[in-house]
């Protein structure tokens, strides 16, 4: 390709071959555009209006510029660029784009095998596994906490009451993540209120190190994403026809069967979307593990954070970020498949 040859020859431009991959989205757009053109020509419809005809020239261009700026320059291209970066070696800025800047799997290999010593990289694999398992636990916990309230709000209370409950739910979420973690720390610290109460009542003699044994981490994550779980659940259950529950009750179903066989199957898309959001957010969270995790607990995002701010190894950090994203998406897809929910329903 003459274009890439031209890019490579200009070796003093530090980004050179990296930009070749970034042409991909433009090619995809062009393909879709050509397809649309062809289809419009084949199926000639006199009432159909072209894009610029419908929106006018000025607005039409404005819309396209805005959407292209967002979808391409803020979403697709940075993601692609990060992935490309993760396949490069870590080099000082002066050597970027030089002969040493080749494609490599080194960064991904370093996740599995330690670069120094060559043993299995137990620390980082362990951190990833722990983050994912803990996030699953937090998701399950939040579902258990939120389901009864969501059901109560959606099915058995008046509109006035629901609005007040909603307000009460939203107000704590205007306080930001850091301050909420701080508030929990004040409660759970060894000098905190809960330990004071426990010792005051004579239940324990010495303070319990809640933060050290990761209770703080779980509580913090659950607390941070309570609202993310409750709204999708509420929306899903709210549209369920009350008569269905009545009918089940009249036919003699006990309460747990009503939930198992009527409400939960109906609310499945909402449950899936709440769980997906909570899982992704806690797996990618940074504040709760940093401020509430125990000293020996290593959260995977903290590993990534350290590659950026302590080791200044952006390439390896990018590779780890991509590993995290891929692992989370794979798990969510697997779960959705297992519970037979389509992705389309979930993100609606």
């Amino acid at each position: 390709m003459p274009r890439s040859a031209w890019l490579c020859r200009k070796g003093n431009w530090p980004v050179s071959s990296r930009f070749v991959v970034l042409v991909v989205p433009f090619v995809i757009i062009a393909i879709f555009w050509l397809l649309a053109r062809r289809e419009a020509k084949l199926r000639h419809d006199p009432t159909h209006k072209g894009y610029f005809e419908r929106n006018g020239m000025t607005l039409g261009i404005l819309f396209i510029v805005l959407v292209a700026l967002w979808a391409l320059f803020l979403v697709v291209l940075p993601y692609l660029y990060m992935v490309v970066e993760s396949f490069h070696p870590q080099l000082p800025p002066s050597k970027r784009g030089g002969p040493e800047d080749v494609l490599t799997l080194e960064q991904y290999k370093s996740f599995f095998v330690q670069p120094v010593g060559g043993g299995l990289n137990v620390t980082h694999i362990g951190a990833l596994v722990f983050s994912i398992l803990a996030s699953i636990a937090v998701t399950a916990l939040n579902f258990a906490i939120c389901y009864p309230l969501a059901y109560y709000m959606a099915q058995s209370s008046g509109a006035q009451k629901v609005r007040l409950l909603m307000l009460a739910l939203i107000v704590p979420y205007w306080v930001n993540e850091i301050l909420r973690a701080f508030a929990l720390r004040l409660l759970l610290a060894s000098r905190g209120l809960i330990n004071q109460a426990l010792m005051g009542l004579g239940i324990t003699d010495a303070p319990i190190d809640f933060l050290g044994i990761d209770v703080g981490l779980y509580v913090g994550l659950s607390y941070a994403y309570l609202l993310i779980m409750i709204f999708p659940l509420y929306n899903a259950i709210e549209s369920l026809d009350k008569n269905q529950i009545e009918a089940a009750r009249d036919l003699g179903a006990p309460w747990w069967r009503i939930h198992r066989d009527v409400v939960i199957p109906y609310a499945k898309p909402g449950i899936a979307s709440g769980c997906t959001m909570v899982f992704m957010l806690s797996a990618g969270s940074l504040a709760a593990p940093q401020f509430l995790g125990g000293p020996r607990t290593l959260w995977f995002t903290s590993v990534i954070y350290n590659f950026f701010f302590q080791n200044f190894n952006w390439a390896r950090g990018s590779a780890y970020a991509f590993i995290l994203l891929a692992a989370c998406i794979a798990l969510v897809m697997l779960m959705l498949r297992l519970f037979k929910v389509s992705l389309g329903e979930t993100i609606k």
Binding site: A36, L74, I178, Y223
Partner: protein, 299 residues
């Protein structure tokens, strides 16, 4: 029905516990803001003080961060609300085979961990802006990168808000206007935009708030600058001071005020709607003599 009472009691107890979980930590933190010891403690309450608020006011870092947070919030609103609106309109017009992909691309930032958004923003824009020294000097700044990084997912929030409202839009209105000789841009400015106004207001509020309290993306994209949240994070990491509690009290105070105002406005609006409906009914019964009725009061 004894079991119904038991159920009701348990439900009440559960709701009580739920809200205790939600508000308990914040109340405890609130108490520590007014207590004298320099380690934030709620009990024993030694003496009432407002010193921590004064200390907060004098914290230069925090004030600098607050200022940056405001600038970033405004920047994000200016970028993501129009982008979300444009995307929602294009979504309704785009070539049908491309719609699924377009939706996936625009919604994906919501499912991507904020950390990754921050990293990719920095890596990408560092090289793009680094092409010339001038662009690097002007734009390669924490505030700019943070606006770009946050906008990538906040635009998606806006898109969802706009799409929800746009699906209820009655296309007949548009056609009526076109039949009466309006041009397409006129339809946009005089029909679609006024119709979208409530959604635009909520998009602005949500965009600003989510920008203001974002940590995960910001901590990477902010580079050497600071926002209120990154200053806070630094202070929480260093240790604990009741000044942080004081800040939380201020934020809770503002949000309570906002929530209550919102509730009052909503109720007033509902009342007004009911009155208007009543008047309309009366007018209809009066057989088209609505004009003869007393003019609607402004209340």
């Amino acid at each position: 029905m004894k079991s119904a009472w038991v159920m009701k009691g348990m439900l009440g107890f559960y709701i009580l516990l739920f809200f205790l979980y939600l508000f308990g930590p914040l109340i405890v933190m609130g108490i520590t803001a007014f207590n004298t010891p320099s380690y934030p403690q709620a009990y024993p309450f030694e003496a009432f003080t407002l010193d921590w608020f004064v200390k907060l006011w004098n914290d230069r870092n925090m004030m600098q961060g607050l200022q940056n947070s405001f600038i970033i919030g405004l920047g994000v609103v200016a970028l993501s609300v129009p982008a979300g609106l444009a995307a929602s309109i294009i979504m309704s017009q785009i070539y049908h085979r491309a719609r699924g992909l377009f939706y996936l691309v625009t919604i994906s930032p919501l499912l991507t961990p904020g950390v990754i958004i921050g990293i990719s923003t920095v890596i990408f824009w560092k090289d793009v802006l680094g092409v010339t020294e001038v662009t690097k000097a002007i734009f390669y700044k924490g505030v700019v990168l943070t606006i770009l990084g946050q906008s990538s997912f906040i635009s998606a929030y806006c898109l969802l808000i706009f799409m929800a409202r746009l699906t209820r839009f009655d296309r007949a209105q548009e056609e009526a206007a076109l039949d009466l000789g309006a041009s397409y841009p006129q339809v946009f400015w005089h029909i679609l935009l006024p119709y979208m106004k409530p959604a635009i207001v909520s998009a602005v509020v949500i965009a600003f708030l989510s920008s203001f309290e974002n940590y995960n993306t910001t901590t990477f994209a902010i580079l050497a600058d600071k926002t209120l949240v990154t200053v806070l994070a630094g202070q929480v990491r260093q240790g604990t001071t009741p000044a942080l509690s004081a800040l939380a009290v201020i934020i809770i105070g503002i949000s309570l005020f906002g929530a209550i105002t919102y509730e009052i406005l909503k109720r007033r609006e509902k009342k007004r709607a009911e009155q208007a409906q009543k008047r309309a009914l009366v007018a209809e019964r009066g057989d088209g003599q609505g004009d003869a009725l007393p003019a609607p009061s402004s209340a």
